[in-house]
Amino acid sequence: MIAALTSLTILGVVLGLILGVAARVFRVEGNKLAEEVLGILPGSQCGQCGFPGCAGAAQALAEGRAPVTLCPPGGRAVVLALAAKLGKDADMADVKESVPMIAEVKEEICIGCTRCFKVCPTDAIMGAAQQIHSVFREACTACGKCEEVCPTESIKLQPIPVTLQSWYWHKPLATGSAA
């Protein structure tokens, strides 16, 4: 009885010591995965995912607390990149914004209040006080911050119009085909 108790206690203590040392040696400085995930996210800190900024979202993703489909401005490309990094199945059905969007100013009702371009995280809106503002399409991530602050509802997210350059054949319908 005594032998059993002491031997097991000693065994436990020895193994515990080894693990303790190993934990020191292999300690992970910060969260490497979170950093890598942060590199994938758009970095516009728009907060649409419900986390305070992209760093918070990256942390949540790395800990598996958030779905890979959390980032609306990132679109499908980010979902796929995140799914590949985290080894998850990307469920495209969860991507709310299937149509890529972009902010557009309705020039008739823009009063030139400058509120929208002050909140734009990517400097995608150009304008000055009392001047009609306009959006640089290349820089807009459709985060929707401008839409929230606009007093006249003049700036709104619209689907990006399809052009000859962006058009492509739809996916063939798999009607009975098992290609």
Binding site: A3, A4, S7, L8, L11, G12, L15, I18, L19, A22, A23, F26, R27, V28, N31, K32, L33, E36, A62, G64, K85, L86, G87, A174, A178
Partner: protein
């Protein structure tokens, strides 16, 4: 030397731990959707099994037997296994954080993988020597890795096929596993009668 090679072959193929002895089926179904994660899981398990078979032999012959407390065998083995798994987890977390994320719950669950506990117990039952125990552990885990990767490859192919709704998902995977087990029965023919 040839005896050890034969041992390796026999444990990896003829008496395959998963498909013939039906041990360790949990990760076999759980981590077999992608080949590369299956390989990583297999390697992690190989590491754990090889170390625990060796550790278990040492514990058995240097601790349990001299003190006559073999009734504590399972307890001590689990203790050793848990320690090795914990260690593996730390290493993987440090070296490959993405893999750590992918393996998820299955990594700590190596502890409860019945192959890991089963092999040292079988070794005791067979009264094997240290080298043989080690070889059995290593060979079996190589066999585990092999079928895990094979099965993941099959499942990658199944993902491309149109499976009827009744069988889609897990059912077809189980059927495939069964067929793979049947195929492994063929290795029994390697043993001369």
């Amino acid at each position: 030397m040839s005896e050890y090679l034969l041992l390796l072959l026999s444990t990896a193929l003829v008496n395959n731990v998963v498909l013939v002895k039906f041990l360790g089926l949990c990760p076999f179904m759980g981590i077999s959707k992608k080949m590369d994660t299956a390989l990583s899981m297999g390697l992690a398990t190989t590491f754990v099994i090889t170390f625990t078979t060796a550790g278990a032999w040492l514990l058995e012959h240097w601790l349990l037997m001299p003190l006559g407390i073999q009734y504590l065998r399972i307890l001590t083995y689990i203790l050793a296994i848990a320690a090795v798994v914990q260690f593996t987890e730390m290493v993987i977390r440090k070296v490959a954080p993405a893999l750590y994320q992918v393996l998820g719950i299955y990594l700590p669950l190596i502890t409860t993988n019945c192959a890991v506990l089963g092999l040292p117990l079988l070794n005791v039952q067979e009264k094997s020597g240290f080298a043989v125990s080690l070889m059995v552990g290593f060979g079996s885990s190589v066999g585990f890795t092999l079928v895990l990767v094979l099965f993941a490859g099959l499942r990658e192919r199944i993902a491309l096929a149109t499976v009827s709704a009744t069988f889609a998902g897990a059912p077809i995977a189980f059927i495939t596993a069964g067929l793979l087990a049947l195929a492994f029965m063929g290795f029994a023919g390697l043993v001369p009668h």
